[in-house]
């Protein structure tokens, strides 16, 4: 992992570094661990001593939380919505990014401006007009409508990241491919996508995380309980009472667990993808 050019970095490899590493690990992992511990204790136990370890592991709380909320439905809906949206975002976003980065054409600047200005639009306001539109297209209270809104809403960021990366791919590769008679689509498919894999991984990850946890649009655009997505499931535990900290912790654990598991399994692949970076 460390090549000859990096010996100098070994200078850093001393106790300050270790201390820093330990501190930051505690800082980033600590809160999560605290919630995990709290999820196995009951609320009175927690109030009695917030930081003690569980005296009795209350596994039944998880079963309780699962059965009380409509968890499986929400999970399924979230999966459908987010996976579809991320796939669409990646494909459409990559196409736009490739086009904007590669080709000189008259509308280039305008197209770029239009799409990137989507980066700075506040969702709190768009939501009211979006609602009207979904109604008119009969997409209100449908998963399809939500997917389309998600894609439109996050296209800007995806294009921004991908375009920046694609633009750095050396033009020679494309010129050579063109000389060989490749068509535009083939160039996109065979050159841009494989080489741009790290950036694609980045956007897929980012989009997945953001959309999996997206809340405002889901709440307003889906009004039937069996269409709801996961973030709304967490809100079930956040009723006006919010005193049941024990159950809330359990609910939070259930909400975080799938993502952590997914990430745990795929992190190696994902990070390899993102750090593969061998453009040259």
């Amino acid at each position: 992992m460390i090549g000859p050019g990096y010996q100098w970095l070994a200078h850093l490899r001393r106790s300050p570094l270790l201390l820093f590493v330990l501190l930051y690990t505690a800082l980033s992992g600590g809160p999560f661990l605290w919630v995990a511990v709290m999820s196995l204790r009951t609320t009175p136990e927690i109030f009695a001593s917030p930081y003690a370890l569980p005296s009795h592991l209350h596994w039944e709380k998880f079963a309780d939380a699962w059965t009380r909320s409509n968890y499986s439905t929400y999970f399924w809906n979230s999966t459908i919505v987010v996976v579809t949206a991320v796939v669409l975002l990646t494909v459409i976003g990559a196409m736009v990014a490739h086009c904007l980065a590669r080709y000189h054409f008259r509308g280039n600047r305008v197209a770029r401006f239009v799409i990137l200005s989507g980066l700075i639009l506040p969702p709190q306001l768009l939501i009211l007009s979006l609602f009207q539109i979904l109604l008119e297209f009969s997409l209100y209270n449908t998963l399809t409508g939500l997917i389309l809104v998600y894609v439109a809403g996050h296209l800007a960021m995806t294009v921004y990241i991908l375009e920046g990366f694609f633009a750095q791919i050396p033009q020679d590769l494309f010129d050579a491919a063109r000389l060989d008679g490749y068509s535009d689509l083939e160039i996109f498919w065979r050159i841009t996508l494989p080489i741009g894999a790290p950036a694609l991984f980045t956007t897929v990850t980012l989009n997945f995380i953001i959309l999996w946890n997206e809340f405002l649009y889901a709440v307003v655009l889906l009004t039937e309980d069996d269409k709801r997505t996961l973030p709304l499931g967490i809100m079930h535990f956040m009723g006006s009472h919010q005193l049941d900290i024990g159950m809330l912790a359990t609910g939070l654990m259930i909400a975080i667990a799938p993502i952590i598991l997914l990430y745990g399994f795929f992190s190696e692949t994902m990070i390899k993808g993102m750090t593969a970076g061998a453009v040259r």
């Binding site: 000859p4 010996q7 709190q124 007009s129 946890n213 970076g277």
Partner: protein, 316 residues
């Protein structure tokens, strides 16, 4: 270019050796690549935006009656809305400082892992976990951490003897914004770290090796070699982070709802309050806020990209 430049076809092999510029594409190609996005955009972004602009110069009264008020909303906003300007100030402070902290911190963490800290692979996962959590989860957890009586923050301060420093972190106007900022940075550091890490691994070894041979000290190497080479990444992350934080809503809403005494009121929370929480169905005023803010951000982003962004093509 003069003369007719032969265009490539979108699909299908052409003859090898045909002199076609890889920089030009036929209309068909452009259409295929851009159409889906622009269509989605037209329906789900352009219309709402235009509608918002439209709303901003109207007032919506009872029975959905729209009344053209011209610049009245904007005048009121600019001259007599104290909360708006407080929100702008808060958002500006938050954005600038948190962005710098975010990107700097991410770079630091990446360098840490890059330099071969032990268990780097495990740490990559652990340090990335905050990014995976939703704002709801993060907000709730950190409200507990900041709790005056039994929160982790004050608990730790007390146990190391710094009990005098304990605060009502989210309840004091002086510390609330910084506390929320700390939480937000905590959440996103991992992401910047991963991106920087990827960029670091992509750095060509030869250049660094050459610098090594020149006997540069490691700080010099960092400042004069690595950072300039990371420049595109840094700029990208700065812009992304900047824009994201200008729009911050979820975390603030969950942790403080804009208080205490408007010290954490951001433009987004204020827009939300006026649209949904204000005993009125009038969308005109919140639309005006959003339009004004949109223009402000546009100016900033434009300035930033002009200043920072260069089209580096690394040629070999």
């Amino acid at each position: 270019m003069t003369g007719v430049v032969p265009r490539a076809r979108p699909w299908g092999r052409g003859e090898a050796g045909a002199e076609v510029s890889a920089r030009r594409a036929s209309l068909a190609t452009l259409f295929i690549f851009l159409a889906p996005a622009l269509l989605l955009y037209a329906a789900f972004t352009v219309y709402p935006v235009l509608r918002t602009f439209w709303n901003s110069i109207h007032t919506i009264g009872p029975h959905n009656v729209q009344e053209l008020v011209g610049a009245a909303n904007f005048t009121q906003l600019l001259t007599s809305d104290r909360v708006f300007w407080k929100a702008v100030g808060n958002t500006a402070i938050f954005t600038i400082i948190a962005t710098i902290a975010d990107v700097l911190g991410g770079l630091l963490l990446a360098l840490c892992l890059f330099s071969g800290a032990p268990l780097a692979k495990l740490l990559r996962v652990v340090w990335f976990t905050p990014v995976l959590m939703s704002y709801v989860v993060v907000g709730i957890i950190w409200v507990w951490i900041y709790d005056y009586d039994w929160g982790l923050a004050n608990f730790i301060l007390r146990s190391v003897g710094l009990g005098a420093l304990e605060q009502s972190w989210l309840g004091d106007p002086r510390t609330a914004l910084w506390s929320v900022m700390a939480t937000h940075v905590w959440k996103w550091l991992g992401f910047n770290m991963i991106v920087f890490l990827a960029a670091l691994y992509a750095l060509p070894e030869e250049v660094l090796g050459a610098a090594e041979l020149d006997n540069c000290g490691w700080i010099a190497k960092l400042v004069y070699v690595i950072i300039p080479m990371l420049r595109p990444t840094i700029v990208n992350l700065l812009v992304l982070s900047f824009v994201g934080k200008m729009m911050i809503f979820d975390l603030v809403w969950i942790m403080t709802g804009g208080g205490p005494l408007w010290s954490t009121e951001t433009v987004s929370t204020y827009v939300y309050k006026r649209a949904f929480d204000w005993n009125t169905f009038d969308l005109g005023y919140p639309s005006a806020i959003a339009v004004l803010w949109f223009i402000i951000i546009l100016v900033f982003v434009f300035a930033m990209t002009q200043l920072l962004r260069q089209r580096d093509r690394l040629e070999f």
